[in-house]
Symmetry: C2
């Protein structure tokens, strides 16, 4: 790590970035409070608070003085000469954010806000009525708007409109680079799924049929969160309908999870997942708070952390060696009838199905690939919105071998497109891919990691993540971070090895 | 109520006021979250968030465009001709706030922020060490600063510097007007205290010696809060070290209370008190949110509402007729040994003592009068800070007949002066006075109110308060509201009647 070069302009730029962040994180608190704490009748006024603070935030961020400061810093070789220095990374990413925020005309921003709000209503209604035709005109407007938005942003030579949108979520990522990993992944995944589905041995479903008191589940997942290293002095775990993690800053991380009496597996998975996000946020450095060097790299890298704790750790045999005997402490006799295999196998059942958010670790990626392919075609104008349901259903048949029974369970299931988010979906599978590749490297460097998990020791992995990934903030873009940490560009092999090594034995195919 | 006159300038003024309020209420949420939800390590960054949003708020509020809008509105007789019209009240109070915010030079505001912060540290240390001399130089600086601040604000002819400071908390209130009610109150209160303390009959202290599980206490006070009419769809009740109510707006009111195993009486009192603040906030009209017509009148009037539910309702014989039998439901056998008189009497014990925040309903006012007299003299320059401890102790001997054992239990007990708040203390007793006078009027208009309380019915009182006090927002200043509601200017008689009628029978003097 090189010492940070500095200058008056640079100091001013950092000060402004920190101020923007103080306001931005206030907006995140307004959202968190709305989901977790706010009484029901507070909603109308909360919208006013969020809209006002968002306007002030946008004004602060797009102030032309910032543009001047950035240009002055970019011209200073002491600051940007070494592209992996803290100052160069801060300047590069502040420039990125400034350009993104200033490239769109106000009329388009307003149009998008309006379309997003109306689009979501239309989508919710269409989904309820299983009637794609109600959503179709809105999605057509949305695609048209997003094509214009992509034009405003622009994309690299040889690229395509989708790239311009993905840049918001995964800077530097292109449809071509995604395809390069997704295509081999799909082929190998299909073959694995064929093997698993063809096997006579299936894990028992008993674990997923348990009914356990929610009070006990809460104590259980809180204990797990503490054990794996989430710091409750610097964060909270609450409840909400859709679990999320909102990183105000590394010393104040707000996570949520959810509980159903008949689904402790979901509570554990959601909690481990959000803890992964939370541990990432807590691992950023407070000295860098509010600057790119104190911020997460991208949605894909964020997801790599949540998936690692959810899947690589939380669905591993080693984790359950520690966790299975713990269950008695929290649930008494209610779990005594379950064998180790019932629990470990039950947490790893693979089953091709229609709904993304209920999908298992393996098939999940197929859901994402289908969405990526379709949104890419929509953005290129090579698929008409009217043809979306057929294209969707054909892919579910081809990739997962299932017949989608209705648009509600098909192309109307996700909210993302209705809120004008395209370019977002792939970050979920990119997360799985980065995760597996990082984890393989960690495993090479800490050969007894699984033995540690089996003893309830998760600190070595957490420290490894802190030192290799979290502390860098945005020093590296995602693809570069991958090379920096693992020595290789992103590949589908580690994820496939992970899935095969774990799932084949469970399905009697080892 | 007259229809609101309107104009382009007026509409713009109201829009700006609402925007200021959306930001101001965001700052209140940051504070609420800090006290109630924020993890311990969040504190450093939270200070940055509050300081940034406060700066933006101040800039919005003191924008010279607002001054122009106010002047334009003031020149429009349709808007201000009728001084009790909504438009006139809004313009009057927006002018008041604008002038207050713009009259102080930035250097003085900064100096005050710095002194407040350092003064509090010095005070905390001095209190811990029982060493007034550590705080003395800071209090001297604070008094000097407040004298200059008062000069900037100015005061009416015949008034004095204290008036200029009180204006922040109780607009329109002067030291002379406070003295006019406090002086007779003190004389009559001393005579009542002599009678009570001279009586052989004392209420039992058993109720205050109870040890009850905090879980049960929580359910109990939540049930009480619901029963008296706090709307949990439009608010929350949480816990904090010092109970408070932070009114974001009428549909989202955040209250806190506190629990000690051995003090259910305190939990009930604190909850009733904060519910009084909360019910006031919920009684403001949402259509007026963010404008003076949708805001509470003053701290004194706010306190009149909290004290009403705490004392006039919550320590009444009628309330306990409903509440006493309820205790068994929540505490089972743990309260079975208490008689009605143990509980009702135990909630009404009077005992002159040193500490304001632990004082009973009657002696409390003596604590306030002492502080008021001393801060008035300090502000006039008629009492040197060095002489404060002696002056304090002499008054405790004279008014309450007790010898203050140490400065920690004497003039170092309260945080207020150390944070540069003078002019604030009297609002507590003004609250008690307004409360008693309002309640007498309510009782005249609802003669069976106590019978209703005894049946657990509190809705008639709540509606009366909604219609006579809450819905007006700041249409009237406090003194005018008092005349409007009760037909008479504020007097010490209703409070004395209330205390005598209740306490004398309890002490066997009826």
């Amino acid at each position: 790590m090189t010492a940070t070069a500095t200058s008056t302009e640079y100091n001013q730029l950092i000060k402004t970035a920190k101020e923007c962040n103080a306001l931005g994180s206030t907006i995140s608190l307004l959202h968190w409070d709305q989901e977790v704490m706010m009484p029901k009748n507070g909603i109308e006024f909360r919208a006013d608070q969020i809209s006002l603070t968002s306007r002030l935030y946008h004004e602060m961020k797009t102030n032309p003085k910032n543009g001047d400061l950035i240009s002055a810093c970019e011209a200073n070789d002491d600051l940007v000469g070494d592209p992996t220095s803290a100052s160069a990374a801060n300047i590069r990413e502040i420039r990125h954010g400034y350009d993104r925020a200033t490239k769109l005309p106000a009329s388009l921003v307003e149009e998008e806000a309006m379309l997003s709000s109306r689009g979501q209503s239309a989508w919710a209604e269409a989904r309820k009525n299983n009637d794609f035709s109600e959503f179709q005109p809105w999605l057509e407007k949305i695609v048209n708007l997003l094509q214009r938005k992509a034009e405003c942003y622009g994309w690299s030579e040889g690229g395509e409109p989708w790239d311009a949108l993905a840049e918001d979520y995964e800077p530097g990522c292109t449809a071509a680079s995604v395809s390069e990993v997704f295509t081999p992944l799909r082929v190998k995944l299909q073959s694995l799924l064929d093997d698993l589905m063809g096997s006579d041995k299936k894990p028992s479903n008993k674990f997923n049929e348990l009914v356990l008191p929610i009070d006990h589940q809460k104590k259980f997942v809180n204990a797990i969160a503490s054990q794996i290293g989430f710091d409750f002095q610097s964060g909270r775990l609450d409840e909400s309908t859709h679990p999320f993690c909102s990183g105000t800053h590394c010393n104040d991380v707000r996570m949520t999870t959810r509980f159903h009496e008949n689904n402790v597996n979901d509570a554990i998975g959601s909690t481990m997942h959000e803890c992964g996000h939370g541990i990432y946020e807590q691992g950023l450095l407070f000295t860098n708070v509010g600057t790119p060097m104190g911020s997460a790299v991208s949605l894909g890298i964020h997801e790599s952390q949540s998936r690692m704790w959810e899947n690589q750790v939380g669905r591993s045999e080693a984790f359950w060696k520690w966790c299975y005997p713990k269950m008695g402490e929290f649930f008494g006799d209610a779990t005594a009838h379950l064998s180790f295999d019932d629990v470990y196998g039950g947490a790893n059942i693979v089953k091709p199905d229609f709904i993304r958010v209920e999908a298992d670790e393996a098939t999940y990626n197929m859901h994402i690939m289908i969405r990526f392919e379709l949104e890419r075609l929509l953005m290129k104008g090579e698929l008409a919105v009217a043809d979306l349901p057929d294209a969707w259903n054909a892919r579910y048949q081809e990739y997962l071998g299932i017949d989608v029974p209705s648009d509600t369970k098909g192309c109307l299931q996700d909210i993302h497109w209705s809120m004008t988010s395209m370019g977002y979906f792939p970050t979920y599978t990119l997360g799985n891919l980065y995760c597996a590749q990082f984890f393989e490297t960690a495993m090479e460097e800490i050969p007894d990691m699984y033995e540690q998990f089996a003893r309830g020791e998760f600190g070595t992995l957490k420290t490894w993540l802190n030192e290799n990934i979290h502390c860098h903030g945005q020093r590296f873009r995602a693809a570069d971070l991958c090379v920096h940490v693992t020595g290789k560009p992103l590949s589908s092999d580690p994820l496939m090895r992970h899935l095969e090594n774990k799932l084949k034995p469970i399905y009697g195919l080892a």
